[in-house]
């Protein structure tokens, strides 16, 4: 580890080669763009197409050169090392890793406010939530391409077997349904605790958000520091019940993949997750033929849905203003209505902007997505997900302490205190 960190320090002695450069022969500015959206990543074809289109549109002026960094974690590590040296690539995709705040802390991000305000077409793509996600202190620093509307999926066959006709509208009804499923010999929920417990946190956050106004306010707060609130404790008690009574044995210590497998193999009746999972329902390497027809999508009890665009692309400060201009052009292109529509049609990606129309092509290709987006439109309570707003060091704490919550070693209050203590380390 020491060697890694030293290597990171040494990196500062030279240029990483990720920065844009001007080609002296023909005046073309080349933007070196590292991305994890390559290889088997579901967004890889979309990004590749956008790069090709950009290079064609700006031929002779700008050119994007993709640098493939397979794996989200590798990409985040790479950007963090470059942040340490102050030598970031011209365009960085914040994704779900809040890289924007890290770069802002180093004062390395270009303020896009004037550029966005001067361009009505670009500005129209910023919904209120997109503006919140990509702005800090009233200034716009990033631009989103992808929305994140997250509900849950259920297995219609298993529901029918347990005599359940439709998804629950209240949490009381939800737990009654869990009991019905259990009685019918069906595991109600696919859950996880490892790798920050993505699936479990979705259920947990939904219960906090729908508890009352304070709960919703908590969910809408960036980096909350006090988890010892009545709403949080009550929700954690229910999570404890879910882990003890309604999920598979391997959920404790299990990763997202375990939870997904349990749902895809028909062992569990419900899984909380985003629309990006829809592709898996018809992937015969992951599930059986025809499984997609058995899956329904729903918003959470209390008419809640997670709705916050994923932090978008941002431009970093460069020595050459021409490079910054090129990078801004790239960000605008990559987050345009066309790009969002392309993502929807090619990948089933939820557009960041609510002004982007759902095309017939998308409806035909992703009927479950369109059905879910229709339901999500009517959801009355919305917030970002808990993982996106909590301090990053809490993600590990959640994974480490959930098994102790399950075993009863910690009660809900003690669990929340652990989170509060860990949050205090960031002060």
């Amino acid at each position: 580890m020491a060697a890694v960190m030293t290597a990171a320090l040494f990196t500062g002695c030279g240029k990483s080669g990720d920065t844009a450069k001007s080609d002296s022969d023909n005046g073309v500015i080349t933007i070196n763009y590292p991305t994890f959206q390559c290889g088997v990543n579901t967004a890889a074809p979309v990004v590749a197409k956008l790069v090709a289109e950009f290079n064609k549109e700006y031929a002779g002026k700008y050119q994007i050169k993709l640098e493939e960094v397979p794996g989200d974690a590798n990409y985040v590590d790479k950007i963090k090392v470059q942040l340490g040296t102050g030598d970031l690539p011209p365009v960085v995709y914040g994704a779900g890793y809040n890289l924007l705040d890290l770069a802002l802390a180093k004062n390395l991000v270009v303020d896009l406010t004037d550029k966005v305000n001067a361009d009505p077409e670009w500005k129209a793509l910023y919904s209120k939530t997109a503006l919140n996600t990509n702005s800090r202190n009233g200034k716009i620093y990033a631009s989103s391409v992808e929305g994140s509307i997250v509900g849950y999926f259920y297995n219609k066959d298993l529901f029918a077997k347990a005599g359940i006709t439709e998804p629950a509208k209240t949490w009381d009804e939800f737990f009654q349904q869990c009991d019905k499923l259990k009685k019918a010999g069906i595991t109600p929920l696919a859950m996880d605790t490892a790798d920050s417990a993505w699936v479990t946190q979705l259920w947990w956050g939904a219960m906090v958000a729908t508890s009352n106004e304070n709960g919703l306010k908590f969910m809408q707060t960036m980096n909350p520091s006090d988890y010892n609130t009545p709403e949080m404790v009550a929700a954690v008690e229910k999570v404890q019940k879910m882990l003890k009574e309604y999920t598979t044995l391997d959920a404790i210590g299990g990763k997202y993949e375990n939870a997904a497998n349990n749902f895809l193999s028909g062992q569990a009746a419900m899984i909380a997750n985003g629309p990006w999972m829809i592709g898996d329902f018809s992937d015969t390497t992951k599930t059986t033929e025809g499984f997609a027809d058995k899956v329904g999508a729903a918003v959470y009890p209390g008419n809640f849905v997670y709705d916050a665009p994923i932090q978008g692309y941002f431009v970093t400060k460069q020595d050459d203003p021409k490079v910054e201009e090129a990078a801004i052009a790239m960000v605008k292109f990559f987050t345009s209505a066309h790009a969002q529509q392309l993502g929807l049609e090619m990948q089933g990606m939820v557009p960041a902007s609510d002004t982007v129309k759902i095309t017939d092509k998308a409806s035909e290709k992703y009927p479950l997505l369109v059905d879910f987006l229709g339901k999500a439109t009517n959801a009355s309570i919305r917030s970002d997900n808990m993982q996106a707003t909590m301090y990053s060091n809490l993600l590990d704490v959640v994974s480490q302490e959930l098994p102790r919550l399950y075993s009863g070693e910690l009660d809900a209050k003690a669990f929340c205190q652990k989170l509060t203590d860990a949050a205090a380390k960031n002060k």
């Binding site: 960190m5 030293t6 963090k80 340490g84 044995l249 404790i252 210590g253 098994p403 075993s407």
Partner: protein, 290 residues
């Protein structure tokens, strides 16, 4: 023949330069940066003296990681080395099939830790793992457990992943045992020593140095242990199975606090130096026997 001593520094120079660049300089930087408030989110590094060290002595997570690391070093130096040595003492008598056993016992040591971690993750899986399946088949369903995620069983379960595979120790001790002067052993037998007495009173004392060396290797292995724990429990549940490298990684990765991470790094070096000194002193590894 007269040795031209003037050449000695010249031949040593490449090794010294490499050591300085690859080990000494990074170590100095680790110690140096541990005296700074050095975070990813800070505009610049700020000198804070020993503040990180003061935080360290008030950090219960650090002490949990430290105590686990020390316990694991102890277990590895005693149980793991003893097991490897006992197997070597059996094999040096060349019983039937000893070559096969020697090779087979080495196999787990040549598989990557990542693969071993995944294998044991599945062996201990509470739903379909071998351990619980065997218990169920034996009618002992009450004993089934989530072995890696229950605070009561996580530490011994993780320890089992590496403590039994003492192939390196066996190979080294066996090589040394096979090179022992047979006449000394024969003399002991002629004097009426039983095979057990020969092993305990003659062979084992002559293997003291190589056993000391394997203990040093076992201790350093534990100081570097990261991947197996990261893959199986990631230090959990709670901090039950965390150790110093994992604690360092957590501070580096999630808190982005490089200064504090390097403070833990300095402690790892200190623990290593102390462990090496104790082992060397106890077994007199660096002293002549005769």
């Amino acid at each position: 023949m007269k040795i031209k001593k003037g050449w000695i520094p010249v031949f040593l120079l490449p090794a010294v330069v490499l050591f300085l660049l690859i080990y000494a300089l990074p170590l100095a930087m680790v110690f140096g940066t541990s005296l700074f408030d050095y975070r990813l989110t800070a505009q610049k590094m700020t000198f804070i003296g020993f503040e990180n060290y003061i935080r360290l002595i008030h950090d219960p997570d650090f002490f949990k990681a430290l105590s686990n690391t020390v316990i694991w070093i102890f277990i590895q130096c005693i149980l793991h080395v003893a097991l490897g040595t006992i197997i070597a003492l059996i094999l040096y008598k060349k019983p039937r099939g000893w070559k096969f056993v020697r090779t087979a016992y080495m196999v787990p040591n040549i598989i990557s830790n990542a693969a071993i971690g995944m294998i044991f993750l599945n062996i201990f899986n509470p739903q379909f793992g071998v351990v619980n399946s065997v218990l169920k088949a034996a009618g002992l369903e009450k004993l089934t457990h989530n072995w890696l995620m229950d605070s009561a069983t996580a530490f011994p379960s993780v320890t089992l992943i590496w403590v039994l595979f003492a192939g390196y120790t066996t190979t080294l001790v066996l090589a040394q045992a096979l090179s022992l002067d047979e006449s000394m052993l024969e003399a002991a037998r002629v004097d009426g020593a039983t095979p057990f007495q020969v092993d305990m009173m003659v062979v084992l004392p002559m293997l003291k140095k190589i056993i000391g060396t394997t203990m040093v290797m076992a201790a350093t292995y534990m100081l570097q242990m990261f991947d197996l724990i990261y893959i199986t429990t990631n230090g959990g549940p709670g901090k039950t199975t965390t150790n110093l490298p994992l604690q360092l990684y957590g501070v580096y990765k999630t808190e982005n606090n490089y200064g504090y991470a390097n403070t833990i790094g300095v402690c790892i070096v200190l623990v290593g130096v102390i462990a090496m000194t104790v082992i060397n002193k106890a077994l007199k590894v660096n002293k002549e026997d005769y």
